[in-house]
Symmetry: C2
Subunit: 222 residues, 2 copies
């Protein structure tokens, strides 16, 4: 089993200070939602988000949805060889029960994650499918206790997906940024045993996750 | 340059005979839309779609969105080595202008494709970004004139992504099913020069597209 953390993910509920911004209230009226139970989304709340702290690293639930689908539809995940976590920019951690697949419809995904932020978990037939805890990245690493922690960033040492997959062994933990632009904070990067750059250009989160999991799959299934 | 066709894609406007079904009208009222300008979507129109012809191969705009993002965020596409087409179950063909990237937000993608079905094209600065034509799969192949046509299906000859990528040469055309379940129709499969099975189990469209394009990239960029 390997673990994969989407770190500093751009996933959060509309923060209190933006609840009364017109771009938030008009969205919430249109869809009959409460701001305190609505995911922050730059494609709707752009005007409200202008100038907020860490603006470019926030409000992208669409990226997290894409990245999760790229991981949770792989043979690796189907064979329960992959444990997935979403660590958010506000130090919340979502743990997916082994084998649980997020809805492909964005609308359903959004509803599910909003419910998770409200209730702290999503249950079905007495099983916890998704769980939300307030945990820092370091706390999460202490919980997972990986043998090695491998981060991917254009700031890392030059490598390729193929070569990087070779250092992933059982009980490794892979870390990919869950944001559109920018780099891991020091609080995160200081924990890495390896930091690898997989391509000369910055790649989308879902492109990195699908390629590295595919290469890792090849090392264990073929 | 290679071409990729998502064939028989589950992408269409709500058909006339379903326009007055309660699951369609209530959705359209909620979002202030006309049924004749709304994408058929099983996650909203499930009740209306029950028992329609080819039910399992229709109404999945979310799958097409995911698949397009998996293709259009690759270095291959960024370097203009990939031409993308969406052939739909009703023989419409969407051509993407070389390098155009679909919106990552599903809501924006939906609006764009609905506008495309209404107007026949999407323009910006006098450039046609997306174009919709009524074309059969065979007509599209005559237009592309590929050197070889390679389809992927669990009904094909056993292969791997790596091996299949080796037969993709410049001016090849790759064909992946743009549907959740089922197989290519005879009208489509009779055109293939090769039909390859890439995995023992059926894989999601976006998983197939991301892996095969990655393996092909390796053959030309490394």
């Amino acid at each position: 089993m390997v673990s994969l953390i989407l770190a500093q993910s751009a996933l959060e509920i509309v923060p209190k200070e933006l609840e009364n911004h017109p771009s938030v209230t008009s969205y919430c009226e249109k869809y009959s939602k409460k701001p305190s139970e609505t995911l922050l989304d730059i494609s709707w709340h752009f005007a409200a988000m202008k100038g907020i702290k860490n603006e470019i690293m926030r409000g992208r639930p669409d990226l997290i949805h894409l990245a999760l689908l790229s991981m949770c539809n792989t043979p690796l995940y189907a064979r329960k060889k992959l444990q997935v976590y979403v660590h958010t920019i506000n130090d919340n951690v979502i743990s997916l029960r082994n084998g649980v697949r997020p809805p492909k419809s964005y609308h359903r995904f959004q509803g599910l994650i909003e419910k998770l932020f409200k209730n702290g978990n999503i249950e079905s037939d007495n099983l916890t499918l998704l769980e939300l805890e307030h945990l820092t990245f370091e706390d999460l690493i202490k919980k997972i206790k990986p043998k090695i922690l491998i981060g991917f960033s254009t700031q890392g040492e030059n490598s390729t997906f193929e070569k990087a997959a070779e250092i992933i062994t059982d009980n490794s933990c892979i870390v990919i940024g869950g944001f559109q632009k920018g780099h891991f904070s020091k609080e995160i990067s200081k924990n890495f045993d390896h930091l690898k750059s997989l391509h000369e250009n910055s790649l989308e989160t879902h492109v990195v996750s699908s390629r590295i999991l595919y290469e890792y799959e090849k090392t264990i299934f073929m």
